[in-house]
C-alpha cells in the first residue's frame, strides 16, 4: 500500500464508523511505512517516550526535508505514518503552514497525540516544526 496524502487519510478515516476499523487502518498504514535498519536507530535519533520509543532520521532533498521514522510499537508506527503524510518531502514553508492540530482533530485522534501520552509523537511533531523554522519555514 502506497502512503496516502493527509487529505486522503482524513477522507478514509471519516468513512469508518467504529474504532476497530480506524485502528486497523492505522495499523495498516504503519505497515506501509518503511522501517529503519537497526544501524540507523542511533541514540541521537531516538525520541524516547515513557511507553514507546520513536526514531527520526532527517535529510535534505533539494529544498525539501526528507524524514525516515520508526517506532517499536505498531500503532505508534501507524500514527507516525499520519505525521509523515503531513510532513514528509515538504518544504520548510509548507511544514510551517500546515495546521497539524486541525489535522489531528479532523482525524479524531487527538487523544493519542497529547503530550501526556508519552509515546513520543508530540515530541516528533515539535522536532519537525522546529527544524522547519530553522530552515526559514
Amino acid at each position: 500500500m502506497q502512503l496516502p496524502s493527509s487529505q486522503e487519510i482524513i477522507e478514509d478515516l471519516e468513512f469508518f464508523d467504529d474504532w476497530e476499523q480506524k485502528y486497523q487502518y492505522i495499523i495498516d498504514l504503519g505497515k506501509a511505512l518503511p522501517r529503519l535498519d537497526d544501524a540507523q536507530k542511533t541514540p541521537e535519533r531516538l525520541v524516547k517516550g515513557c511507553q514507546s520509543s520513536v526514531w527520526l532520521v532527517i535529510s535534505m532533498d533539494g529544498d525539501k526535508i526528507h524524514f525516515e521514522v520508526d517506532s517499536d510499537a505498531v500503532i505508534v508506527h501507524g500514527l507516525l505514518a499520519l505525521v509523515m503524510a503531513a510532513y514528509n518531502d515538504k518544504t520548510p514553508a509548507e511544514i510551517t503552514a500546515f495546521d497539524i492540530d486541525e489535522y489531528f482533530e479532523a482525524l479524531d485522534l487527538e487523544r493519542h497525540i497529547t503530550p501526556t501520552r508519552g509515546n513520543g509523537l508530540r515530541a516528533i511533531v515539535g522536532k519537525i516544526q522546529h527544524l522547519a523554522a530553522q530552515h526559514g519555514g
Binding site: 474504532w19 495499523i27 511507553q51 514507546s52 517499536d72 510499537a73 505498531v74 500503532i75 493519542h112 508519552g118
Partner: protein
C-alpha cells in the same frame, strides 16, 4: 463479616463511568486507586466547613481544622498499629518519605558504609539511595532476584554485614507483584544492627500492615494508593529513631526557638513536618483508612487472591503471553509481555475497549534491563475489581492480539 463486591463498587462513583460508551474496567490500581464517596466527602466537608491553617489560629475554625487533622493522624496510627501517634509523619507520598530518610542518613554515611536494596526497586527506592551513596561515598549493594521475581534470600543475607547501615526494600513489588517476607528480611538486617526501611507503596492497600510486628524502623506509603487523596502520604518510623533523625526540610511548624543566627527543632511529629501540611489530604487519608479498616481483611485478601488466581489461570491459555513475575507469594499485579505485540499497542487497544492498564517500564528501568525487557503491560487489581472484569480484560487482550497479529 463477608465481602460484597457489588456493594463496595457502589461506594466508588468513578467505577460506574463509561469510556467511549463501554463500561470502565479500571485495572491500573498499582498506579493509583479510586476513592470511595466518603473520602471525597471528607475533602468537600473540610473545605466547606472548617478550612483554616492548623496549629496556629486563635479561632474556632482553626481549632476544628486542627482537631480533624490530628484525628487523621490517630486514624493512621491505628491502621498500621503504630506504638504512638508521634511516629506518624505526614509526607506528600512514598517518595518524599523515602527522601526524608535518605537525605537524613546521607548526612551520616561515610565511605565504607553500605546500603542494601534489591533488584526489584521502584525508582523511588533506588535512585534515592543511589544518590545518598554517591554523595556520601557509601556503597550501594543491590541484592539479586531470581528470574521469577522472588528475592534470592541467601544472597540477600550474604550481602549484609557489620558495615550495613540501611536495608531498604519493597513490601510488594509494583512491577512484579512479589510479596517480600518483610519480617524475615528485617530480622536478617537487625542481626547486624542495620536500619530497615520498607517501601510500602504497594503493600498498604492489601490489608493488615502492623508496623510493630514487622520490626522495621521505617514504613513509607502514599495515600493515593490506598483509596485516599493524592499529595499526602505517611512516613512511619520508630519514635526512638525519628526523635534524633537529621531534619531535611526546615521552616515553619518544625522549630522550637529561632534567633536570626540559630534555631532549635520542635518535638515529634512536627520536627519532621516543615511548612503548612496538606491538611485536607491528611483528613481524606484518615477517612480512607477508617473506611478500609471497616472491611473484613481476610475476605478482602481472599477476594484479591481469587482475582490474581483467575488472571494467572486465564493467562496460561493465551498464546505468546509471558508473565513477568511469577513468585509463589504474589498479589494484585499481572505484568506481561506478548511475543507479537508491544505493550504500548496492547495498552492502546485495551483503552479503546474501556480497559485501563499501565504500559512501560513501571518506574523500574534497571529491573526491566535485569529481566531483559524494555517494559511490560501491567494489569493491577484492587478490592473493587470483579472476576468479570478479569475476564473482560482477557477478552480485550485476545482482541488486541487479533488486531495486531
Amino acid at each position: 463479616m463477608s465481602f460484597d463486591v457489588a456493594a463496595i463498587r457502589a461506594e466508588f462513583p468513578i467505577l460506574s463511568q463509561t469510556v467511549d460508551g463501554k463500561p470502565l474496567v479500571y485495572l491500573d490500581n498499582g498506579a493509583t486507586t479510586q476513592k470511595p464517596q466518603v473520602v471525597i466527602d471528607s475533602l468537600v466537608d473540610f473545605y466547606t466547613q472548617c478550612n483554616a491553617n492548623v496549629h496556629r489560629g486563635a479561632h474556632q475554625l482553626s481549632d476544628e481544622a486542627t482537631r480533624r487533622y490530628e484525628n487523621a493522624r490517630d486514624q493512621v496510627a491505628r491502621f498500621i498499629n503504630a506504638a504512638n501517634r508521634n511516629e506518624v509523619i505526614w509526607t506528600s507520598g512514598t517518595t518524599e518519605g523515602i527522601n526524608l530518610v535518605a537525605k537524613g542518613l546521607a548526612q551520616q554515611l561515610e565511605a565504607g558504609d553500605e546500603v542494601v536494596v534489591t533488584e526489584m526497586e521502584h525508582h523511588a527506592n533506588l535512585v534515592t539511595w543511589q544518590q545518598a551513596c554517591l554523595q556520601s561515598g557509601a556503597t550501594l549493594r543491590v541484592a539479586p532476584i531470581f528470574d521469577n521475581g522472588e528475592l534470592d534470600l541467601e544472597t540477600f543475607r550474604a550481602y549484609l554485614g557489620p558495615n550495613t547501615r540501611m536495608v531498604a526494600f519493597p513490601h510488594v513489588s509494583n512491577a512484579l507483584g512479589t510479596v517480600n517476607p518483610v519480617k524475615e528480611l528485617t530480622a536478617m538486617a537487625k542481626a547486624y544492627g542495620a536500619l530497615v526501611l520498607v517501601d510500602g507503596a504497594q503493600g498498604i492497600a492489601h490489608g493488615d500492615v502492623d508496623v510493630q510486628a514487622l520490626g522495621c524502623d521505617f514504613y513509607a506509603f502514599s495515600g493515593h494508593k490506598v483509596f485516599g487523596p493524592t499529595g499526602i502520604g505517611v512516613l512511619w518510623g520508630k519514635q526512638a529513631v525519628l526523635e534524633n533523625w537529621p531534619v531535611w526540610l526546615t521552616g515553619g511548624e518544625m522549630i522550637a526557638d529561632v534567633t536570626y543566627q540559630n534555631a532549635t527543632w520542635g518535638a515529634l511529629p512536627n520536627r519532621l513536618e516543615a511548612g503548612t501540611p496538606n491538611i485536607a489530604g491528611a483528613i481524606g487519608l484518615g477517612r480512607a483508612l477508617e473506611w478500609f479498616s471497616q472491611l473484613d481483611v481476610a475476605a478482602v485478601q481472599a477476594h484479591e487472591k481469587a482475582l490474581i488466581d483467575s488472571a494467572m489461570t486465564q493467562a496460561a491459555d493465551i498464546q505468546g503471553m509471558r508473565l513477568i513475575g511469577t513468585a509463589q507469594n504474589k498479589i494484585g499485579i499481572l505484568s506481561f509481555v506478548m511475543d507479537s505485540a508491544h505493550p504500548a499497542d496492547i495498552g492502546f487497544i485495551l483503552d479503546r475497549q474501556g480497559i485501563a492498564i499501565r504500559t512501560g517500564d513501571n518506574c523500574a528501568q534497571p529491573l526491566m534491563h535485569r529481566l531483559g525487557i524494555n517494559g511490560t503491560a501491567r494489569a493491577s487489581f484492587s478490592l473493587y475489581n470483579t472476576l468479570d472484569e478479569v475476564s473482560a480484560f482477557f477478552a480485550g487482550l485476545r482482541k488486541a492480539q487479533t488486531m495486531l497479529g
